[in-house]
C-alpha cells in the first residue's frame, strides 16, 4: 500500500521535478554559456514563457480529456486553422464591420462555434459508426484541412483589429491575456474532471469501457461531449493567438496534434485511457516550452530542440515502464 502511494507521488511529482531540474540546469549553464546578461529565471522571461505555452497548452488540455476517455484526436491542428480563418475572415464581412468593435465578440463566438461543431462532427462519427477515433480524426485531419483551403484559398488571410490586439497583448495582474486563458481553462477542466459526474464517467469509460457500459454509463454522449470540448478548446487556442497576430496561413496548426500529444504524454497521461491529470498536462506543456527557451538561452542550435524532446519522450516511456514493472510483475505480453 505504501509503495503504491510512493509510486503515485513519484508519478504525479515527476513532471514538476523535471521542470525544477530544467530551471536549475538552464540557470547554471546560462551563467557560462548564455550570450545575454539576463538571468534565465528572470520574472518577465517566465511570464513570457507561460504566454508562449498557451496555444499548444490549451489544445493539450483538451487532448488530456480525450485521452483519459480512451480516444485520440488528430484533427486539432486543422480545427485550429479553420477557427482562426473564421475569426479573421468574419471581421471583414460588411455586416460585422458595420458593428464596429461589437464585431469582436461576435467573431470570437463564430470561431468558437466552428471549433465546437467540428469537434461534434468527429464525436458523432465515432459514436454512431463505431469506427476508431484514431481513424476518424486522421480522416478529418485531412478533411478539415481541405475545408481550410476551400474557404480561404491558398493565400494567407490577414485582418488586424487594434482593439483586439490591445486586448490580446494586455497584462492583467502581471499575466498576459493568453496566460489567463490557459490557466482559467486548466482550472475549469480540472474541476470538471475531478468534481463532476462527467469527469468521473470519462475516467471510468477510459479505464474499462465494458465495465462502464455494464454499470449503466452511456458511453456515447460522454465521448461526444469530450470531442465538442476539444474542438472548442482548439478554437479557443486559435482566437487567443490570432487576435494578436492577425494573420493566418492555411498551413498553420500543422503538427499541433503531435505537439499536444507529446505534452500530454510527458505529463503522464496514459494513451490507453483511464489515467491522467489536467494539472500534470500543464506541467508537460511548461516543461516543453522551458526546454525550447532554455536551449535557446544557452545558445544551443534550435535544431536540437526536436531531437531532445523526442528522446525525452522515449525516456519518459522507459521510466514509466520500469516504475510499473516494479509494482505488478508483467502480466501483459
Amino acid at each position: 500500500m505504501t509503495s503504491n502511494r510512493y509510486r503515485d507521488i513519484l508519478k504525479h511529482g515527476a513532471i514538476w521535478a523535471f521542470i525544477l531540474v530544467e530551471l536549475t540546469f538552464f540557470s547554471i549553464a546560462g551563467e557560462y554559456l548564455s550570450v545575454s546578461d539576463k538571468a534565465f529565471m528572470d520574472f518577465d522571461n517566465m511570464l513570457l514563457l507561460l504566454k508562449q505555452s498557451a496555444p499548444i497548452g490549451i489544445i493539450a488540455l483538451g487532448m488530456t480529456i480525450i485521452m483519459i476517455n480512451g480516444n485520440i484526436d488528430l484533427s486539432v491542428g486543422a480545427t485550429y486553422a479553420l477557427s482562426a480563418i473564421v475569426l479573421l475572415d468574419s471581421m471583414t464581412w460588411p455586416a460585422l464591420q458595420a458593428m464596429g468593435d461589437w464585431a469582436i465578440p461576435l467573431a470570437w463566438g463564430l470561431a468558437l462555434l466552428t471549433g465546437a461543431i467540428l469537434g461534434a462532427i468527429n464525436g458523432l462519427i465515432v459514436w454512431k459508426t463505431g469506427v476508431d477515433a484514431f481513424i476518424v480524426t486522421l480522416g478529418s485531419m485531412l478533411g478539415y484541412r481541405g475545408l481550410v483551403f476551400m474557404i480561404n484559398g491558398e493565400q494567407p488571410t490577414s485582418h488586424l483589429n487594434w482593439t483586439l490586439v490591445d486586448f490580446a497583448e494586455a497584462q492583467f495582474l502581471g499575466l498576459h491575456t493568453a496566460s489567463w486563458f490557459l490557466l482559467t481553462a486548466a482550472l475549469v477542466l480540472w474541476l470538471m474532471m475531478t468534481r463532476t459526474v462527467h469527469g468521473r464517467n470519462a475516467y471510468a469509460i477510459g479505464n474499462n469501457r465494458e465495465a462502464a457500459v455494464n454499470a449503466g454509463i452511456r458511453v456515447g454522449p460522454h465521448m461526444m461531449w469530450n470531442f465538442v470540448l476539444i474542438g472548442f478548446l482548439a478554437a479557443l487556442s486559435a482566437v487567443v493567438f490570432y487576435s494578436e497576430s492577425g494573420s493566418v496561413n492555411p498551413n498553420d496548426g500543422m503538427l499541433f496534434e503531435l505537439w499536444a500529444i507529446t505534452a500530454v504524454v510527458l505529463g503522464g497521461t496514459k494513451l490507453t485511457g483511464g489515467y491522467g491529470s489536467i494539472i500534470s498536462t500543464l506541467g508537460g506543456v511548461i516543461a516543453i516550452q522551458l526546454l525550447r527557451k532554455g536551449l535557446g538561452h544557452i545558445g544551443a542550435a534550435t535544431e536540437t530542440v526536436n531531437l531532445v524532446i523526442g528522446l525525452i519522450l522515449i525516456a519518459v516511456l522507459l521510466l514509466d515502464r520500469q516504475l510499473n514493472l516494479k509494482g505488478k510483475q508483467e502480466l501483459k505480453i
Partner: protein, 324 residues
C-alpha cells in the same frame, strides 16, 4: 432469405469494397475526362505515387504486426538529406549504402524499443518523428541540400530513368510489392507477422519470438523508407529538410484504405497498393476535372471513413454502432 442475401451482399462489399470503389472511381473519372485513361497519364500517376507507395509497403508490415509507425515521414526526410549530402562527399556508389545503413539503424532502434522493450509504438514513433526531424536539421544545418553537379551524375537514374520505356520508380515499386507479397504470404516469417499482430499472447505461447518479429517489421519499414528517400532524392536532386513532413499520416491513410486493421493481424500488400493507387488516382482525377488540389483532402476524408465503416459494419452485422 432476404436477410441472408443482405448479409452476403454486406460481406462481399466489406471484402471487396475497396476494389469496387476503385473501379467505380476509375470509370467515373474516365467518363468525365478521356485523358484520365491515357497511358501516359496512368503511368504518371503511378510514378508519382511510387514514393508514398514504397513507404506504405513497409508500414503494412508494421501495422499487420499490430503496431504504428508515425516516424516514416520524418525518416524519409532524413534519408533524402543524408543521401544528397553524402553524394557530393563520398560519391553516389558509397552514399547509397551508407544512407541505407543509417536509416535502417534508426529503424532498428525503434524496433528495439517497441519489440524488445515493449514500449507503446504510437508514442515511441511520435517521439522518433520529432527526434529524427531534429537529427535531419542538425545534419543539414537547417539548409536545403543540393547536388552540385546535377547534369553529370548517374544518381538521377532511380527517380528519373526508364528501362524499356517504363519509369524506374514504377519498376522499383512493383518489384518491392511483389517481393514483399511473397515474403508475407509464402514464408514462415510472414505467417509469424500475422500471428503476432492477430494475437500476440497466443503467438508467444506457441513459441513465436514476438519481440524479434516486431523488431524486423520496423527494420523492413526503415528499408522501405530508405528506398523512398532514394527515389525522392534522385528525382529532385535537391531537397528541403521537411520533404517527408506529413507523409506518415498519408501512408497510414493508404494502408487503412487498403483494409488493414489498426488492431493488427490483417491486411495485405496487394490491398495496400490499391489503397495507394486510389489516393493517387483520386488526386489526379480531381485535378483533371479542374478542381483545386485540396478538394482531394475532403474526398479522401469521406472515403477513409466510409471504407472503414463498411468494414466494421460488416463484421458486427449492423450498420450503426450499438453504443448507447
Amino acid at each position: 432469405m432476404t436477410g441472408m442475401t443482405k448479409q452476403r451482399i454486406g460481406n462481399i462489399l466489406a471484402k471487396q469494397g475497396i476494389l469496387i470503389a476503385f473501379a467505380v472511381f476509375m470509370i467515373g473519372f474516365a467518363i468525365a475526362n478521356q485523358r484520365f485513361i491515357a497511358i501516359d497519364n496512368i503511368s504518371g500517376v503511378i510514378r508519382s505515387s511510387a514514393i508514398l507507395g514504397v513507404m506504405a509497403l513497409g508500414v503494412t508490415f508494421v501495422v499487420i504486426g499490430g503496431n504504428f509507425d508515425l516516424s516514416v515521414g520524418s525518416m524519409m526526410s532524413f534519408s533524402t538529406i543524408v543521401v544528397l549530402d553524402l553524394h557530393d562527399k563520398l560519391g553516389p556508389a558509397l552514399a547509397i549504402p551508407a544512407m541505407f545503413g543509417l536509416t535502417m539503424a534508426l529503424g532498428a532502434f525503434i524496433g528495439f524499443l517497441v519489440g524488445y522493450m515493449k514500449l507503446n509504438s504510437l508514442i515511441v514513433t511520435l517521439g522518433m518523428l520529432s527526434a529524427i526531424h531534429g537529427l535531419t536539421l542538425t545534419w543539414s544545418g537547417g539548409k536545403n541540400m543540393d547536388i552540385a553537379d546535377k547534369a553529370g551524375t548517374w544518381f538521377s537514374v532511380f527517380g528519373q530513368g526508364r528501362i524499356l520505356g517504363v519509369p524506374v520508380p514504377i519498376l522499383i515499386f512493383a518489384g518491392l510489392a511483389i517481393f514483399f507479397t511473397v515474403v508475407l504470404m509464402k514464408t514462415p516469417f510472414g505467417r509469424k507477422v500475422y500471428a503476432v499482430g492477430g494475437n500476440g499472447q497466443a503467438a508467444t505461447f506457441s513459441g513465436i519470438p514476438r519481440a524479434r518479429i516486431v523488431f524486423l517489421t520496423y527494420v523492413i519499414s526503415a528499408f522501405c523508407v530508405a528506398t523512398a528517400g532514394l527515389l525522392q532524392a534522385s528525382r529532385s536532386l535537391g531537397s528541403q529538410n521537411t520533404v517527408g513532413q506529413g507523409m506518415e499520416l498519408q501512408v497510414l491513410a493508404a494502408v487503412i484504405l487498403g483494409g488493414a486493421s489498426l488492431m493488427g493481424g490483417s491486411g495485405t500488400i496487394f490491398k495496400t497498393v490499391i489503397g495507394v493507387l486510389i489516393l493517387g488516382f483520386i488526386q489526379n482525377g480531381l485535378l483533371l476535372m479542374g478542381l483545386a488540389f485540396y478538394v482531394q483532402y475532403v474526398v479522401t476524408w469521406g472515403i477513409i471513413i466510409l471504407a472503414v465503416w463498411l468494414d466494421v459494419a460488416a463484421k458486427r452485422g449492423r450498420l450503426w454502432s450499438p453504443t448507447a
